[in-house]
Protein backbone atom coordinates (compact mmCIF):
# COMPACT_ATOMS: atom_id res chain seq x y z
CA UNK A 1 0.00 0.00 0.00
CA UNK A 2 1.26 3.48 -0.76
CA UNK A 3 0.67 6.78 0.99
CA UNK A 4 -1.61 7.69 -1.87
CA UNK A 5 -4.09 4.96 -1.07
CA UNK A 6 -4.70 6.25 2.45
CA UNK A 7 -7.81 8.33 2.99
CA UNK A 8 -7.65 10.49 6.13
CA UNK A 9 -10.89 12.43 5.63
CA UNK A 10 -13.30 12.66 8.56
CA UNK A 11 -16.57 14.39 9.10
CA UNK A 12 -18.19 15.75 12.26
CA UNK A 13 -20.73 18.46 13.04
CA UNK A 14 -21.28 18.61 9.29
CA UNK A 15 -17.68 19.78 8.79
CA UNK A 16 -15.64 18.01 6.14
CA UNK A 17 -12.03 17.62 7.24
CA UNK A 18 -9.39 16.35 4.81
CA UNK A 19 -7.53 14.95 7.79
CA UNK A 20 -8.39 14.63 11.48
CA UNK A 21 -5.72 17.00 12.85
CA UNK A 22 -6.35 20.60 13.85
CA UNK A 23 -4.63 23.06 16.16
CA UNK A 24 -6.01 23.45 19.69
CA UNK A 25 -7.43 26.77 20.77
CA UNK A 26 -4.93 29.21 22.20
CA UNK A 27 -1.99 27.40 20.65
CA UNK A 28 -2.28 28.79 17.13
CA UNK A 29 -3.44 32.36 17.75
CA UNK A 30 -5.68 33.24 14.78
CA UNK A 31 -3.52 31.43 12.25
CA UNK A 32 -1.72 34.32 10.57
CA UNK A 33 1.57 33.73 12.38
CA UNK A 34 1.92 30.33 10.75
CA UNK A 35 2.11 31.73 7.24
CA UNK A 36 5.90 31.73 7.38
CA UNK A 37 5.93 27.99 8.13
CA UNK A 38 3.33 26.29 5.94
CA UNK A 39 0.08 26.55 4.01
CA UNK A 40 -2.88 26.39 6.39
CA UNK A 41 -4.72 24.25 3.85
CA UNK A 42 -2.64 21.40 5.29
CA UNK A 43 -4.70 21.55 8.48
CA UNK A 44 -7.80 19.42 8.93
CA UNK A 45 -9.49 22.48 10.40
CA UNK A 46 -8.46 25.46 12.53
CA UNK A 47 -9.57 26.36 16.05
CA UNK A 48 -8.77 29.92 16.96
CA UNK A 49 -7.95 31.53 20.31
CA UNK A 50 -10.75 31.91 22.86
CA UNK A 51 -12.92 34.89 22.03
CA UNK A 52 -14.83 36.89 24.63
CA UNK A 53 -17.37 39.69 24.35
CA UNK A 54 -14.99 42.47 25.31
CA UNK A 55 -11.25 42.69 24.82
CA UNK A 56 -9.30 41.02 27.65
CA UNK A 57 -5.81 41.87 28.86
CA UNK A 58 -5.14 38.48 30.34
CA UNK A 59 -3.01 37.71 33.39
CA UNK A 60 0.22 39.25 34.68
CA UNK A 61 3.57 37.75 33.63
CA UNK A 62 5.32 35.35 33.89
CA UNK A 63 2.66 33.38 32.09
CA UNK A 64 4.71 30.38 31.03
CA UNK A 65 6.62 27.71 32.94
CA UNK A 66 8.28 24.59 31.63
CA UNK A 67 7.51 21.36 33.50
CA UNK A 68 8.65 17.77 32.91
CA UNK A 69 7.32 16.85 29.45
CA UNK A 70 4.84 19.67 29.72
CA UNK A 71 4.25 23.34 30.38
CA UNK A 72 2.07 25.58 32.48
CA UNK A 73 0.35 28.61 31.01
CA UNK A 74 -1.66 31.32 32.64
CA UNK A 75 -2.49 33.44 29.62
CA UNK A 76 -5.98 34.13 30.92
CA UNK A 77 -8.04 34.50 27.76
CA UNK A 78 -6.17 37.53 26.41
CA UNK A 79 -8.02 38.37 23.17
CA UNK A 80 -9.17 41.43 21.26
CA UNK A 81 -12.91 40.77 21.80
CA UNK A 82 -15.45 39.30 19.41
CA UNK A 83 -15.92 42.49 17.38
CA UNK A 84 -12.30 42.71 16.36
CA UNK A 85 -12.05 38.95 15.88
CA UNK A 86 -14.88 39.10 13.35
CA UNK A 87 -13.48 42.19 11.66
CA UNK A 88 -9.71 41.62 11.77
CA UNK A 89 -9.07 37.91 12.19
CA UNK A 90 -11.66 35.57 10.72
CA UNK A 91 -11.86 36.99 7.15
CA UNK A 92 -8.18 36.16 6.61
CA UNK A 93 -8.88 32.47 7.18
CA UNK A 94 -11.41 32.32 4.38
CA UNK A 95 -8.67 32.56 1.79
CA UNK A 96 -7.81 28.95 2.59
CA UNK A 97 -10.17 27.06 0.33
CA UNK A 98 -10.60 23.87 2.33
CA UNK A 99 -10.22 24.97 5.92
CA UNK A 100 -13.15 24.67 8.31
CA UNK A 101 -12.89 27.41 10.95
CA UNK A 102 -13.91 26.80 14.55
CA UNK A 103 -14.25 29.70 16.97
CA UNK A 104 -13.53 29.00 20.64
CA UNK A 105 -15.98 31.03 22.73
CA UNK A 106 -15.39 32.01 26.36
CA UNK A 107 -16.90 34.33 28.90
CA UNK A 108 -18.02 34.83 32.45
CA UNK A 109 -21.77 34.34 32.62
CA UNK A 110 -24.32 32.72 30.35
CA UNK A 111 -25.32 36.18 29.13
CA UNK A 112 -21.98 37.25 27.76
CA UNK A 113 -21.32 33.85 26.21
CA UNK A 114 -24.67 34.18 24.44
CA UNK A 115 -23.85 37.72 23.36
CA UNK A 116 -20.63 36.50 21.71
CA UNK A 117 -22.59 33.84 19.85
CA UNK A 118 -25.23 36.31 18.69
CA UNK A 119 -22.54 38.57 17.36
CA UNK A 120 -20.85 35.61 15.62
CA UNK A 121 -24.10 34.51 13.99
CA UNK A 122 -23.78 37.37 11.48
CA UNK A 123 -20.31 36.33 10.34
CA UNK A 124 -19.90 34.00 7.39
CA UNK A 125 -16.27 33.42 8.20
CA UNK A 126 -16.49 30.42 10.49
CA UNK A 127 -18.18 27.03 10.59
CA UNK A 128 -18.62 25.91 14.18
CA UNK A 129 -18.32 27.06 17.73
CA UNK A 130 -16.22 25.41 20.41
CA UNK A 131 -17.74 26.34 23.73
CA UNK A 132 -14.96 26.79 26.26
CA UNK A 133 -16.30 26.12 29.73
CA UNK A 134 -12.96 24.90 30.90
CA UNK A 135 -10.41 27.66 31.06
CA UNK A 136 -8.68 27.34 34.42
CA UNK A 137 -6.87 30.63 34.14
CA UNK A 138 -9.41 33.25 35.00
CA UNK A 139 -11.55 33.65 38.06
CA UNK A 140 -14.58 34.17 35.91
CA UNK A 141 -13.52 32.17 32.90
CA UNK A 142 -16.39 29.84 32.86
CA UNK A 143 -14.68 26.98 34.65
CA UNK A 144 -17.53 26.73 37.16
CA UNK A 145 -19.63 25.74 34.16
CA UNK A 146 -17.03 23.12 33.41
CA UNK A 147 -17.15 21.39 36.78
CA UNK A 148 -20.87 21.23 37.53
CA UNK A 149 -23.01 19.13 35.18
CA UNK A 150 -26.18 21.14 35.76
CA UNK A 151 -24.51 24.46 35.10
CA UNK A 152 -22.83 22.99 32.04
CA UNK A 153 -26.18 21.81 30.69
CA UNK A 154 -27.74 25.21 31.28
CA UNK A 155 -24.92 26.88 29.38
CA UNK A 156 -25.00 24.42 26.49
CA UNK A 157 -28.75 24.81 26.15
CA UNK A 158 -28.46 28.59 25.97
CA UNK A 159 -25.66 28.47 23.42
CA UNK A 160 -27.41 25.91 21.26
CA UNK A 161 -30.49 28.12 21.19
CA UNK A 162 -28.43 31.19 20.35
CA UNK A 163 -26.14 29.71 17.72
CA UNK A 164 -26.92 29.20 14.06
CA UNK A 165 -23.90 26.91 13.74
CA UNK A 166 -22.88 23.57 15.31
CA UNK A 167 -21.66 23.72 18.90
CA UNK A 168 -18.78 21.62 20.21
CA UNK A 169 -18.30 21.69 23.97
CA UNK A 170 -14.79 21.62 25.39
CA UNK A 171 -14.47 19.99 28.79
CA UNK A 172 -12.14 20.50 31.70
CA UNK A 173 -10.29 17.47 33.08
CA UNK A 174 -10.35 18.91 36.59
CA UNK A 175 -13.44 16.97 37.59
CA UNK A 176 -14.26 13.84 39.52
CA UNK A 177 -16.52 12.43 36.84
CA UNK A 178 -15.87 13.37 33.23
CA UNK A 179 -18.57 11.07 31.86
CA UNK A 180 -21.24 12.81 33.87
CA UNK A 181 -20.10 16.15 32.46
CA UNK A 182 -20.09 14.87 28.89
CA UNK A 183 -23.48 13.26 29.20
CA UNK A 184 -24.97 16.43 30.65
CA UNK A 185 -23.65 18.39 27.66
CA UNK A 186 -24.86 15.80 25.19
CA UNK A 187 -28.33 15.80 26.72
CA UNK A 188 -28.37 19.60 26.51
CA UNK A 189 -27.71 19.45 22.78
CA UNK A 190 -23.93 19.53 22.27
CA UNK A 191 -23.04 18.49 18.72
CA UNK A 192 -19.60 17.22 19.76
CA UNK A 193 -17.42 16.99 22.86
CA UNK A 194 -13.78 18.05 22.80
CA UNK A 195 -11.43 17.20 25.63
CA UNK A 196 -9.25 17.83 27.47
CA UNK A 197 -8.46 21.39 28.38
CA UNK A 198 -5.53 21.84 30.77
CA UNK A 199 -5.06 20.35 34.24
CA UNK A 200 -4.59 22.94 36.95
CA UNK A 201 -1.01 23.01 38.15
CA UNK A 202 1.66 25.08 39.84
CA UNK A 203 5.38 25.56 39.92
CA UNK A 204 7.37 27.15 42.72
CA UNK A 205 10.31 29.43 42.04
CA UNK A 206 12.53 28.22 44.88
CA UNK A 207 14.88 31.18 44.61
CA UNK A 208 12.04 33.68 44.93
CA UNK A 209 10.15 31.43 47.39
CA UNK A 210 6.89 32.09 45.55
CA UNK A 211 4.78 30.54 42.82
CA UNK A 212 6.55 31.10 39.52
CA UNK A 213 3.55 32.20 37.47
CA UNK A 214 2.23 35.70 37.95
CA UNK A 215 -1.19 34.18 38.40
CA UNK A 216 -0.04 31.53 40.89
CA UNK A 217 -1.65 28.58 39.15
CA UNK A 218 -1.74 27.71 35.47
CA UNK A 219 -2.93 25.09 33.03
CA UNK A 220 -0.78 22.02 32.46
CA UNK A 221 -0.50 20.77 28.88
CA UNK A 222 1.84 18.69 26.76
CA UNK A 223 2.86 15.00 26.70
CA UNK A 224 2.76 14.86 30.51
CA UNK A 225 -1.06 14.97 30.43
CA UNK A 226 -1.54 12.55 27.55
CA UNK A 227 -2.38 9.50 29.70
CA UNK A 228 -5.08 11.46 31.54
CA UNK A 229 -6.49 12.83 28.29
CA UNK A 230 -6.56 9.40 26.67
CA UNK A 231 -8.35 7.89 29.63
CA UNK A 232 -10.98 10.61 29.57
CA UNK A 233 -11.48 10.37 25.80
CA UNK A 234 -11.86 6.61 26.14
CA UNK A 235 -14.40 6.96 28.94
CA UNK A 236 -16.41 9.66 27.21
CA UNK A 237 -16.36 7.94 23.82
CA UNK A 238 -17.72 4.84 25.55
CA UNK A 239 -20.62 6.77 26.99
CA UNK A 240 -21.86 9.41 24.55
CA UNK A 241 -23.14 9.20 20.97
CA UNK A 242 -21.88 12.52 19.64
CA UNK A 243 -18.39 12.74 18.14
CA UNK A 244 -15.50 13.15 20.55
CA UNK A 245 -12.44 15.26 19.68
CA UNK A 246 -9.26 14.19 21.48
CA UNK A 247 -6.81 16.75 22.87
CA UNK A 248 -3.83 16.53 25.20
CA UNK A 249 -0.13 16.01 24.65
CA UNK A 250 -0.25 14.94 21.02
CA UNK A 251 3.25 15.29 19.57
CA UNK A 252 3.45 12.45 17.04
CA UNK A 253 1.31 10.55 14.59
CA UNK A 254 1.36 7.62 16.99
CA UNK A 255 -0.02 9.82 19.78
CA UNK A 256 -2.84 10.91 17.46
CA UNK A 257 -3.58 7.30 16.55
CA UNK A 258 -3.86 6.41 20.24
CA UNK A 259 -6.61 9.02 20.58
CA UNK A 260 -8.38 7.85 17.43
CA UNK A 261 -8.26 4.24 18.64
CA UNK A 262 -9.62 5.35 22.02
CA UNK A 263 -12.64 6.62 20.13
CA UNK A 264 -11.86 10.18 19.05
CA UNK A 265 -13.18 11.22 15.64
CA UNK A 266 -10.46 13.85 15.28
CA UNK A 267 -7.71 15.41 17.37
CA UNK A 268 -6.35 18.81 18.30
CA UNK A 269 -2.70 19.65 18.76
CA UNK A 270 -1.70 22.41 21.17
CA UNK A 271 1.66 22.58 22.88
CA UNK A 272 3.44 20.65 20.13
CA UNK A 273 3.14 23.72 17.89
CA UNK A 274 5.45 25.55 20.26
CA UNK A 275 8.10 22.85 20.29
CA UNK A 276 7.87 22.27 16.56
CA UNK A 277 6.11 24.80 14.35
CA UNK A 278 5.74 22.08 11.71
CA UNK A 279 4.09 19.70 14.19
CA UNK A 280 0.68 19.42 12.55
CA UNK A 281 1.70 18.64 8.96
CA UNK A 282 4.33 16.27 10.37
CA UNK A 283 1.71 14.48 12.49
CA UNK A 284 -0.57 14.19 9.46
CA UNK A 285 2.29 12.64 7.47
CA UNK A 286 3.11 10.26 10.31
CA UNK A 287 -0.50 9.10 10.54
CA UNK A 288 -0.53 8.51 6.81
CA UNK A 289 2.70 6.54 6.93
CA UNK A 290 1.45 4.41 9.81
CA UNK A 291 -1.76 3.66 7.93
CA UNK A 292 0.13 2.73 4.78
CA UNK A 293 2.48 0.47 6.72
CA UNK A 294 -0.45 -1.21 8.46
CA UNK A 295 -2.71 -1.58 5.47
CA UNK A 296 -5.24 0.91 6.75
CA UNK A 297 -7.12 2.34 3.76
CA UNK A 298 -9.41 4.69 5.59
CA UNK A 299 -8.85 6.38 8.92
CA UNK A 300 -12.34 5.28 9.99
CA UNK A 301 -10.91 1.81 10.51
CA UNK A 302 -8.87 3.17 13.41
CA UNK A 303 -11.52 5.25 15.14
CA UNK A 304 -12.51 3.39 18.28
CA UNK A 305 -10.39 0.37 17.27
CA UNK A 306 -9.20 -0.01 20.88
CA UNK A 307 -12.58 0.80 22.38
CA UNK A 308 -15.34 -1.60 21.35
CA UNK A 309 -17.88 0.31 23.45
CA UNK A 310 -17.31 3.44 21.38
CA UNK A 311 -17.78 1.53 18.13
CA UNK A 312 -21.11 0.22 19.24
CA UNK A 313 -22.07 3.88 19.65
CA UNK A 314 -21.54 6.94 17.33
Amino acid sequence: MTLHDVDLAVEFCGLQLKNPVMPASGCFSFGKEMEMFYDLNLLGAIVVKATTLEERMGNPTPRIAETPAGMLNSIGLQNPGVEKVIRDELPYLRRFSSLPVIVNVAGTMVEDYVAVVHRLNDSQDFDAIELNISCPNVKCGGIQFGTDPEMAAEMVKAIKEASNRPVMVKLSPNVTNIVEMAQACEAAGADAISLINTLIGMQIDVEKRAPLLGNGVGGLSGPAVKPVALRMVYEVASNVNVPVIGIGGIFTGKDAIEFLMAGAKAVQVGTANFTDPYAIPRIVDEIKEWCAAHGVKHIDELIGAANPMSRRRG
Binding site: C27, M36, T61, R63, I64, E66, M71, P223, F274, Y278
Partner: protein, 259 residues
Amino acid sequence: MPRTEVVLQEKIADGLYRMVIKSPVDLSQSAYMPGQFLHFRVSDSIDFMLRRPISLCLADEANNLVTVVYRAQGEGTKRLSRLAAGDTVDVIGPLGKGFPLHEESSAALVIGGGIGVPPLLELAKKLRAKGTRIVAILGFQKASQAILIEEFKALAEVFIVTDDGSMGKKGLVTDLLDASMIDGISRYYACGPTPMLRAVKQALEPSGILGYLSLEERMGCGIGLCAGCVHKIQDNDGVHYVKTCKEGPVFPAQEVVFS
Protein backbone atom coordinates in the same frame (compact mmCIF):
# COMPACT_ATOMS: atom_id res chain seq x y z
CA MET B 1 12.29 20.07 11.98
CA PRO B 2 15.15 21.48 9.94
CA ARG B 3 18.39 21.17 11.86
CA THR B 4 21.55 23.12 11.44
CA GLU B 5 25.17 22.36 12.17
CA VAL B 6 27.19 23.55 15.12
CA VAL B 7 30.48 24.96 13.86
CA LEU B 8 32.06 25.99 17.14
CA GLN B 9 31.27 25.79 20.83
CA GLU B 10 33.62 27.35 23.34
CA LYS B 11 33.55 28.48 26.91
CA ILE B 12 34.48 32.15 27.04
CA ALA B 13 34.04 32.86 30.73
CA ASP B 14 32.71 31.29 33.88
CA GLY B 15 29.47 29.56 32.74
CA LEU B 16 29.38 31.56 29.49
CA TYR B 17 29.60 30.08 26.03
CA ARG B 18 30.04 31.22 22.47
CA MET B 19 28.41 29.01 19.87
CA VAL B 20 28.70 29.45 16.12
CA ILE B 21 26.17 27.66 13.94
CA LYS B 22 25.32 27.59 10.27
CA SER B 23 22.52 30.08 9.85
CA PRO B 24 19.11 28.40 9.60
CA VAL B 25 18.22 30.92 6.88
CA ASP B 26 20.26 32.40 4.04
CA LEU B 27 21.44 35.61 5.70
CA SER B 28 22.12 37.36 2.42
CA GLN B 29 18.49 36.85 1.42
CA SER B 30 16.96 37.67 4.78
CA ALA B 31 16.20 41.01 6.39
CA TYR B 32 17.73 40.03 9.72
CA MET B 33 18.34 42.71 12.33
CA PRO B 34 20.58 43.00 15.36
CA GLY B 35 18.46 42.38 18.43
CA GLN B 36 16.53 39.53 16.87
CA PHE B 37 16.76 36.13 18.52
CA LEU B 38 17.22 32.51 17.58
CA HIS B 39 14.97 29.93 19.14
CA PHE B 40 16.75 26.72 20.13
CA ARG B 41 15.61 23.29 21.15
CA VAL B 42 18.07 22.13 23.77
CA SER B 43 17.36 18.40 23.60
CA ASP B 44 15.57 15.94 21.39
CA SER B 45 13.81 14.57 24.48
CA ILE B 46 10.39 15.91 25.24
CA ASP B 47 11.21 16.70 28.83
CA PHE B 48 12.62 19.99 27.62
CA MET B 49 9.73 20.99 25.47
CA LEU B 50 10.13 24.72 25.26
CA ARG B 51 12.69 26.34 23.03
CA ARG B 52 15.23 28.76 24.49
CA PRO B 53 15.49 32.25 22.99
CA ILE B 54 19.07 33.45 22.51
CA SER B 55 19.88 36.70 20.79
CA LEU B 56 21.87 36.96 17.63
CA CYS B 57 25.33 38.16 18.67
CA LEU B 58 27.06 38.24 15.30
CA ALA B 59 26.01 37.46 11.75
CA ASP B 60 28.60 36.47 9.17
CA GLU B 61 26.89 36.84 5.82
CA ALA B 62 29.90 35.74 3.78
CA ASN B 63 29.95 32.32 5.44
CA ASN B 64 26.29 32.26 6.42
CA LEU B 65 27.15 31.72 10.07
CA VAL B 66 25.58 33.14 13.20
CA THR B 67 27.13 33.47 16.62
CA VAL B 68 25.28 33.41 19.92
CA VAL B 69 26.74 34.00 23.36
CA TYR B 70 24.85 32.65 26.31
CA ARG B 71 24.96 31.73 29.94
CA ALA B 72 24.47 28.06 30.80
CA GLN B 73 22.38 28.69 33.86
CA GLY B 74 19.46 26.30 33.93
CA GLU B 75 19.21 22.73 32.76
CA GLY B 76 18.19 23.71 29.23
CA THR B 77 21.07 26.02 28.40
CA LYS B 78 23.41 23.54 30.10
CA ARG B 79 22.34 20.97 27.55
CA LEU B 80 22.87 23.46 24.78
CA SER B 81 26.41 23.96 26.01
CA ARG B 82 27.11 20.23 25.63
CA LEU B 83 26.71 20.40 21.86
CA ALA B 84 30.01 20.20 20.04
CA ALA B 85 31.19 21.18 16.57
CA GLY B 86 29.70 18.76 14.07
CA ASP B 87 26.54 18.13 16.09
CA THR B 88 23.28 19.43 14.73
CA VAL B 89 20.76 21.56 16.56
CA ASP B 90 17.12 22.35 15.95
CA VAL B 91 16.79 26.12 15.72
CA ILE B 92 14.46 28.61 14.11
CA GLY B 93 14.97 32.30 13.45
CA PRO B 94 16.14 34.97 13.48
CA LEU B 95 12.79 35.95 14.99
CA GLY B 96 11.12 39.11 16.23
CA LYS B 97 11.89 42.78 15.71
CA GLY B 98 15.39 44.02 16.42
CA PHE B 99 17.10 47.36 16.89
CA PRO B 100 16.29 49.96 14.21
CA LEU B 101 19.48 51.62 12.96
CA HIS B 102 18.24 55.11 12.07
CA GLU B 103 20.01 56.65 9.13
CA GLU B 104 20.40 60.04 10.73
CA SER B 105 22.19 58.93 13.91
CA SER B 106 25.49 60.64 14.47
CA ALA B 107 26.40 59.05 17.79
CA ALA B 108 24.83 56.12 19.58
CA LEU B 109 25.07 54.94 23.14
CA VAL B 110 24.81 51.19 23.68
CA ILE B 111 24.27 49.94 27.21
CA GLY B 112 24.57 46.29 28.05
CA GLY B 113 24.30 44.37 31.29
CA GLY B 114 25.65 40.86 31.70
CA ILE B 115 24.14 38.51 29.21
CA GLY B 116 22.48 41.55 27.62
CA VAL B 117 25.84 42.53 26.15
CA PRO B 118 26.06 40.03 23.25
CA PRO B 119 23.10 41.28 21.15
CA LEU B 120 24.61 44.74 21.15
CA LEU B 121 27.70 43.53 19.31
CA GLU B 122 26.00 42.94 15.97
CA LEU B 123 24.22 46.25 16.54
CA ALA B 124 27.52 48.03 17.08
CA LYS B 125 28.92 46.37 13.99
CA LYS B 126 26.01 47.55 11.88
CA LEU B 127 26.01 51.06 13.33
CA ARG B 128 29.71 51.34 12.76
CA ALA B 129 29.32 50.24 9.17
CA LYS B 130 27.02 53.22 8.71
CA GLY B 131 29.63 55.52 10.20
CA THR B 132 27.89 56.10 13.50
CA ARG B 133 30.13 56.92 16.44
CA ILE B 134 29.48 54.51 19.29
CA VAL B 135 29.86 54.77 23.03
CA ALA B 136 29.40 51.49 24.88
CA ILE B 137 28.75 51.06 28.58
CA LEU B 138 29.11 47.44 29.56
CA GLY B 139 28.23 46.16 33.01
CA PHE B 140 29.13 42.82 34.56
CA GLN B 141 28.90 41.19 37.97
CA LYS B 142 32.62 40.71 38.16
CA ALA B 143 35.70 40.47 35.99
CA SER B 144 35.36 36.72 35.50
CA GLN B 145 31.98 37.34 33.87
CA ALA B 146 33.17 40.03 31.50
CA ILE B 147 32.79 39.13 27.85
CA LEU B 148 33.29 40.60 24.38
CA ILE B 149 35.35 43.53 25.64
CA GLU B 150 37.93 43.38 22.86
CA GLU B 151 35.20 43.03 20.24
CA PHE B 152 33.51 46.18 21.48
CA LYS B 153 36.77 48.08 21.76
CA ALA B 154 37.29 47.54 18.05
CA LEU B 155 34.02 49.31 17.35
CA ALA B 156 33.32 51.72 20.15
CA GLU B 157 34.56 53.81 22.98
CA VAL B 158 34.07 51.40 25.87
CA PHE B 159 33.29 52.01 29.54
CA ILE B 160 33.11 49.12 31.93
CA VAL B 161 31.46 48.78 35.31
CA THR B 162 31.30 45.76 37.60
CA ASP B 163 29.23 45.14 40.70
CA ASP B 164 32.32 44.40 42.75
CA GLY B 165 34.79 46.69 41.04
CA SER B 166 36.95 43.79 39.90
CA MET B 167 37.05 45.36 36.42
CA GLY B 168 36.42 48.95 35.33
CA LYS B 169 34.45 51.14 37.72
CA LYS B 170 32.59 49.66 40.64
CA GLY B 171 28.89 50.30 40.32
CA LEU B 172 25.98 50.19 37.91
CA VAL B 173 25.78 51.19 34.27
CA THR B 174 23.50 54.06 35.24
CA ASP B 175 26.26 55.55 37.41
CA LEU B 176 28.00 56.57 34.20
CA LEU B 177 25.00 58.25 32.59
CA ASP B 178 26.02 61.81 33.33
CA ALA B 179 25.81 64.85 31.08
CA SER B 180 29.25 64.37 29.55
CA MET B 181 28.49 60.76 28.62
CA ILE B 182 25.34 61.62 26.69
CA ASP B 183 26.72 64.70 25.06
CA GLY B 184 26.10 64.45 21.31
CA ILE B 185 24.27 61.13 21.58
CA SER B 186 21.19 60.89 19.36
CA ARG B 187 20.06 57.32 20.06
CA TYR B 188 20.54 54.82 22.84
CA TYR B 189 20.10 51.05 22.85
CA ALA B 190 19.96 48.93 25.98
CA CYS B 191 19.80 45.24 26.75
CA GLY B 192 20.10 43.60 30.14
CA PRO B 193 18.14 42.58 33.21
CA THR B 194 14.80 44.30 33.75
CA PRO B 195 15.90 46.41 36.75
CA MET B 196 18.76 47.77 34.64
CA LEU B 197 16.43 48.61 31.75
CA ARG B 198 14.06 50.38 34.09
CA ALA B 199 16.89 52.41 35.61
CA VAL B 200 18.34 53.28 32.20
CA LYS B 201 15.00 54.44 30.90
CA GLN B 202 14.48 56.57 33.99
CA ALA B 203 17.94 58.06 33.84
CA LEU B 204 17.78 58.98 30.17
CA GLU B 205 14.15 60.08 29.92
CA PRO B 206 14.87 63.70 30.89
CA SER B 207 17.47 63.96 28.15
CA GLY B 208 14.84 63.34 25.47
CA ILE B 209 17.20 60.99 23.61
CA LEU B 210 15.25 58.33 21.73
CA GLY B 211 16.05 54.91 23.07
CA TYR B 212 15.35 51.24 22.48
CA LEU B 213 15.10 48.54 25.07
CA SER B 214 15.39 44.82 24.44
CA LEU B 215 13.02 43.04 26.82
CA GLU B 216 13.18 39.54 28.26
CA GLU B 217 10.05 37.49 28.92
CA ARG B 218 9.43 33.79 29.27
CA MET B 219 8.31 32.43 25.94
CA GLY B 220 5.99 29.60 25.08
CA CYS B 221 6.37 29.59 21.33
CA GLY B 222 8.54 32.49 20.17
CA ILE B 223 6.44 32.94 17.05
CA GLY B 224 3.29 34.71 18.22
CA LEU B 225 1.02 31.74 18.88
CA CYS B 226 0.59 31.66 22.64
CA ALA B 227 0.56 35.19 24.07
CA GLY B 228 2.84 33.97 26.83
CA CYS B 229 5.60 36.52 26.33
CA VAL B 230 3.64 39.73 26.61
CA HIS B 231 4.89 43.01 28.02
CA LYS B 232 2.93 46.16 28.80
CA ILE B 233 3.31 48.86 26.18
CA GLN B 234 1.83 52.34 26.15
CA ASP B 235 1.25 53.73 22.70
CA ASN B 236 -1.47 55.52 20.71
CA ASP B 237 -3.89 52.69 21.58
CA GLY B 238 -3.32 53.16 25.31
CA VAL B 239 -1.75 50.64 27.66
CA HIS B 240 -1.92 47.09 26.40
CA TYR B 241 0.00 43.84 26.28
CA VAL B 242 2.02 43.07 23.18
CA LYS B 243 3.88 39.90 22.28
CA THR B 244 7.59 40.46 22.80
CA CYS B 245 8.44 37.56 20.50
CA LYS B 246 6.65 39.10 17.55
CA GLU B 247 6.46 42.87 18.14
CA GLY B 248 9.70 42.83 20.15
CA PRO B 249 11.92 41.95 21.88
CA VAL B 250 13.07 45.51 21.07
CA PHE B 251 10.69 48.39 21.81
CA PRO B 252 11.02 52.17 21.83
CA ALA B 253 11.92 53.03 25.43
CA GLN B 254 9.14 55.57 25.80
CA GLU B 255 6.52 52.92 25.08
CA VAL B 256 7.73 50.37 27.62
CA VAL B 257 5.71 50.24 30.85
CA PHE B 258 7.48 48.80 33.88
CA SER B 259 5.00 47.79 36.53
